[in-house]
Symmetry: C2
Subunit: 111 residues, 2 copies
């Protein structure tokens, strides 16, 4: 993913998108993130596909492969477990965002 800072946030992005959209396929996810961020964030396929496989292996995502014409698409959706755990992913990310925002904007040199 470009923007450089992301390491660790890809899983959370995927899970959030699948919370909002029920099911999505890999390529669709890359396009959606590009669209939502006005091109600022770009998920590379080399990062995304292994991440999807990992989340499936963990039982957080499940897949359903469908043929669209002559093309095949692998749709990902949250499992029951994934829906439960998504809350923790969001909380952890929000906590990080808050702490980081505080470190950047807080008046850190008052002492």
């Amino acid at each position: 993913m470009n923007g450089k800072i992301f390491r660790g946030s890809l899983d959370t992005i995927v899970i959030k998108l699948l919370t909002d959209n029920k099911e999505m396929y890999g390529y669709e996810i890359t396009q959606k993130v590009k669209e939502l961020t006005g091109g600022t964030m770009n998920i590379t396929e080399g990062a995304l596909y292994p991440a999807l496989h990992k989340l499936e292996g963990k039982g957080i995502l499940e897949t359903q492969t469908r043929s669209i014409g002559n093309r095949m698409r692998k749709y990902y959706s949250l499992t029951k477990k994934g829906k439960k755990e998504s809350v923790n992913y969001m909380k952890e990310m929000q906590s990080f965002l808050d702490q980081m925002q505080f470190l950047l904007n807080g008046k850190n040199n008052l002492a």
Copy 2:
């Protein structure tokens, strides 16, 4: 660093602290972050020292070693180059925080 999500943000945290505090030594940085975040973020020394050495190698930080009694402290501060580049580090992090906040809170499924 604990919290799991941070990968990539350590450099920015260090540079921000050195923007506010002129000069700090390694151990002081770990304590300061713990203090500022109420113990939520903990920078491990195994992550910090290599990061400091890397930033020094890049010409972003410079060091001055001082003896405090029989103890030695290695003080880090921003170089001229480091001060210039710090702006970009902050901008990039802020942009990430904004985008991420939007992805988490934005109404992503209106379409």
